[in-house]
């Protein structure tokens, strides 16, 4: 049904013209601030104002899920508990062996003059917002400049690399995930008889793509992929961080290089906490 327009056209367009002008101005301001790795004061203020509400809403959901999930999963829990206990026993044995190997490797590296790289300190952070924008794959964490966070720092989940800090506000920071098409990380196949290097790139979907790999390189489905510690231009990711596992190996259209799909180790759609490497 059509109704009579009671507004004058000039008034109708005036509002949108002003809003678009303000949007363009703020966009330039936001962009200029972000290029320096810091959030604009307005963005920081908006985040500070809305963060308690967002985290409160998340906390309510998490609490409700925890209260109700055991009812749904009661039957599975006992079997899962037994499986995890057996898994922990195996892992404890492996860790003891790895400590020995690590000590021996460190001793040998020191004897032949390699510099020992200290492990970076980790700062735990909670996720404020997961995938807040449809136009970039990112998360917002509740740590910021006041905690010593700077743009470019590496962020990990317990399972593996998440991405890199790309903007910092006083109390929060934005992290560009590895799955974003603007993100890339120098990577290497962990298998001792392969050690093929390449670059893992985000695809914009849930998987990564490992590129710059020769067509005759020894890569198999199931191989673990870790960060190589190389590629200054890609950002500094420490060596040996888990990235994911190879799910598909194929040739590109020219046949000169391999195209490798990698499933990320970290569950990017279920991140609840993260660690920032300081």
């Amino acid at each position: 049904m059509l109704l009579t327009d009671t507004h004058r056209p000039r008034n109708r367009y005036f509002g949108v013209v002003i809003c678009v002008a303000i949007g363009i101005g703020l966009g330039i301001w936001f962009g200029a601030s972000r290029s320096t790795g810091r959030s604009s004061p307005l963005a920081a203020a908006v985040r500070s104002a809305t963060q308690p509400a967002v985290m409160g809403a998340r906390a309510v959901g998490t609490w409700m899920r925890r209260q109700t999930s055991w009812v749904v999963r009661a039957r599975q829990l006992e079997a899962e508990n037994q499986r995890l206990r057996a898994h922990v026993g195996r892992l404890e044995g492996e860790i003891a062996g790895l400590h020995e190997a690590d000590a021996a490797a460190s001793r040998l590296r020191a004897q032949i003059g390699f510099a020992l790289t200290p492990l970076p300190r980790r700062l735990a952070a909670d996720v404020v917002a997961l995938h807040p924008s449809p136009y970039c794959d990112s998360v917002t964490l509740n740590r910021g400049a006041s905690d010593g966070i700077r743009a470019g720092m590496v962020v990990c989940a317990p399972q593996g690399v998440l991405g890199r800090v790309f903007e910092v506000a006083p109390g929060t920071c934005g992290v560009l995930l590895l799955t974003d098409s603007r993100c890339a990380i120098g990577s290497v196949i962990q298998r001792a008889d392969s050690r093929v290097t390449g670059v893992c790139r985000g695809t914009g979907a849930k998987s990564l793509s490992m590129v710059y790999v020769d067509h005759d390189a020894d890569v198999r489905v199931g191989d673990a992929v870790v960060s190589s510690g190389m590629g200054e231009a890609l950002g500094i990711f420490p060596k040996g961080l888990p990235i994911g596992r190879v799910t598909r190996v194929g040739d590109d259209m020219s046949g000169a290089a391999k195209v490798i799909d990698v499933a990320p180790a970290a569950a990017y759609d279920r991140i609840e906490e993260a660690y920032i490497l300081l």
Partner: protein, 166 residues
């Protein structure tokens, strides 16, 4: 004139929708469908407010969304403001008390918003962007129905600007 409480409810809906979307937005996806609750609230609330208020609400939603990590801040703000204004303009011509109109407007509004965004910030992967926009429009259209039914209860009876006698 729109009643003051209608505008207040519109603001509450948009800001509340945005906060819920930040907290649980990633769970509002089924397969390729992905809904943006803040934007859906903007479209539905825009049915009950005028063009200028719609534009201001859209700009506010754009500022909120851009503050949480969009790399295209200006394009996000402009596209939301334009979409809010567009639905506000249509509100003056359309019979708003219809769920079908709300769903159709949200679907079309999402596509218009994405088109405006693309015009401001062209994406290299046009195919992926178009496909993603279509699925987002579908997700938003589906979510518009419950949002409309909820908002109509609090907003429709507070709006008294429609002069049916003319």
């Amino acid at each position: 004139m729109k009643s003051r409480s209608t505008r207040i409810w519109a603001w509450i809906a948009v800001v509340g929708g945005f906060i819920f979307d930040m907290a649980y937005g990633h769970t509002l996806s089924v397969g390729p469908l992905r809904a943006d609750l803040g934007f859906v609230c903007l479209m539905v609330a825009g049915l009950f407010v005028g063009a200028s208020t719609g534009a201001v609400l859209g700009l506010a939603l754009g500022i909120l969304q851009a503050s949480y990590g969009s790399v295209y801040a200006g394009s996000v703000m402009v596209s939301r403001a334009a979409a809010g204004w567009g639905v506000g303009v249509l509100e003056e011509h359309l019979f708003r008390d219809s769920a079908h109109v709300a769903v159709a407007l949200t679907f079309a509004g999402t596509l218009f918003c994405e088109l405006t965004f693309f015009a401001c910030a062209p994406q290299s992967a046009i195919g992926e962007f178009a496909t993603g926009s279509f699925w987002t429009a579908c997700g938003n259209g589906l979510l518009a129905l419950p949002v409309y039914l909820a908002l109509r209860r609090v907003m429709a009876r507070r709006t008294d600007d429609v002069d049916y006698s003319r």
